[in-house]
């Protein structure tokens, strides 16, 4: 079975500062990895996903994540955040052998301050 740990429940940052949201996973087999965002009073949407190939994945709104197999991590980064990036971010993993079943982390609340 797979599991996901988001290491920070809350991350406060100032506008235009860089940010990293950390995600570690546990699995004995190969996985697919995802980051989702949930803006206040909006539905969940996909930010980016890693399926195969390049370990650096670029997503929407200037976010990127790097898959590190040796460290079983998939941290999300943005070089300069905006107020509008304030949201809850979820990391998720699914097994390549059962891609329909995703396991989500508990979420990280990113708060961008002016």
């Amino acid at each position: 079975a797979q599991s996901v740990t988001q290491l920070d429940s809350q991350v406060p940052v100032f506008e235009e500062a860089p940010v990293e949201l950390r995600c570690n996973y546990s699995s004995s087999v190969s996985v697919y990895l995802f980051w989702y965002v949930q803006y206040p009073n909006q539905g969940l949407q996909l930010l980016l996903k890693y399926l195969s190939g390049s370990t650096l994945v670029k997503g929407i709104n200037g976010f990127e994540a790097e898959f590190n197999k040796s460290q079983t991590s998939f941290h999300l980064r943005k070089p300069s955040v905006h107020i509008s990036d304030t949201a809850e971010y979820f990391c998720a993993v699914s097994l390549m052998t059962n891609a329909g079943k995703s396991t989500f982390g508990d979420g990280t609340t990113l708060t961008v301050k002016p």
Partner: protein, 114 residues
């Protein structure tokens, strides 16, 4: 085009009653997923469908929970003899074909069991 829709948006019920939650996926999407999001927690996988078949029901919390999908479209999640711990937001998502295709989420149904 229309996104994933769910009904009702809110449901308040008494302990012991049965409830039905409905999900209308994006037209043409063959894969459909149900999740549960409890307060302050991440998403918990419940079940997914490929067409009308459910290859993985392992996330259903108990035999009080069941789901079906008809005509490869609408899905219904039924909770029998509701308990207070069933209170949560129930989210539905759909993807085009493969489980690695982007999942598009509905707005959710907020279930409150008194």
């Amino acid at each position: 085009g229309a996104g994933v829709s769910q009904s009702p948006s809110n449901k308040v019920t008494e302990k012991g009653k049965d409830v039905e939650l409905r999900c209308d996926p994006i037209s043409g999407h063959t894969a459909l997923y149900w999740y549960r999001q409890s307060l302050g927690q991440g998403l918990e996988f419940l079940i997914y469908f490929q067409g009308n078949s459910a290859p993985d029901k392992s996330g259903l919390p108990s035999d009080r929970f069941s789901a079906e999908r008809t005509g490869g479209s609408v899905s219904t999640l039924t909770i029998q003899r509701t308990q207070q711990e069933d209170s949560a937001v129930y989210l539905c998502a759909s993807s085009l074909r493969r489980n690695t295709d982007t999942q598009y989420f509905g707005p959710g149904t907020r279930l409150t069991v008194l």
